[in-house]
């Protein structure tokens, strides 16, 4: 069962320099919410930004990770 911290570390490895926060929404290790701020997102559509995150986990999203809610932004967004 993955933990919020596992997910955070994997996103950070895939997107070096990103600011990542992951929350386990149910405490059950299967519904997560990730907020990611990264320069890598600049110039990308939301779809492409979210796909970058989904790609970190491949087939696990929709499998062992039932739900991964994502919020992405770039440092320039000032959010």
């Amino acid at each position: 069962m993955p933990t919020a911290n596992d997910l955070k570390e994997r996103i950070e490895q895939a997107l070096p320099g990103a600011r990542v926060e992951v929350e386990d929404l149910t405490g059950g290790g299967d519904h997560f919410r990730a907020e990611v701020v990264s320069e890598r997102f600049s110039g990308l559509s939301r779809i492409q930004q979210h796909k970058l995150i989904y790609d970190v986990f491949g087939g696990e999203v929709g499998g062992p990770i039932h739900a991964l809610s994502i919020k992405t932004s770039t440092p320039g967004d000032g959010r």
Binding site: R46, I47, H50, K51, Y54, G59, V61, G62, A67, S69
Partner: protein, 129 residues
């Protein structure tokens, strides 16, 4: 129904319906909170859309994700293009981008409430036998 037939049903649904939502359950009875939010946003905009419940056969979801490259449900397509899942749909709903995209009026206080859907959902169930 073969996987190819399911795939072609999905392709057609995306092509033939300007606003097409793949979800768990139906707009009248969503079976998952994320799907409820996405269909609720479309209901709040009063937009005509088609919806397909992916739950009756696991192959629907499998084929859909193969078509879209998107792993989770719901998935919203507008004009044949994947717009996103529930997070993106909600962000765009709240910002007014979704209203603009589907050509609807942005509600003054965009909230997802109990609104009646504008169209009956598409049914695949009776074709699966």
């Amino acid at each position: 129904m073969t996987n190819e037939e399911i795939r072609s049903f999905i392709d057609n649904a995306i092509r033939e319906n300007r606003v097409m939502l793949f979800m768990k359950g139906t707009p009248h009875q969503p079976a998952c909170g994320f799907s409820a939010r996405a269909s609720g946003a479309l209901n709040a905009l009063g937009v005509q859309y088609a919806a397909l419940d992916i739950l009756p056969d696991p192959r629907i979801r499998q084929e859909l994700s193969a078509v879209s490259g998107w792993p989770t449900i719901p998935q919203l397509f507008v004009d044949g293009e994947l717009v996103g899942g529930s997070d993106i749909v909600m962000e765009m709903f709240e910002s007014g981008e979704l209203a603009e995209l589907v050509g609807a009026e942005q509600p003054e206080a965009p909230e997802v409430e109990e609104q009646q859907p504008q169209k009956r959902p598409l049914g695949l169930e009776n074709r699966l036998g």
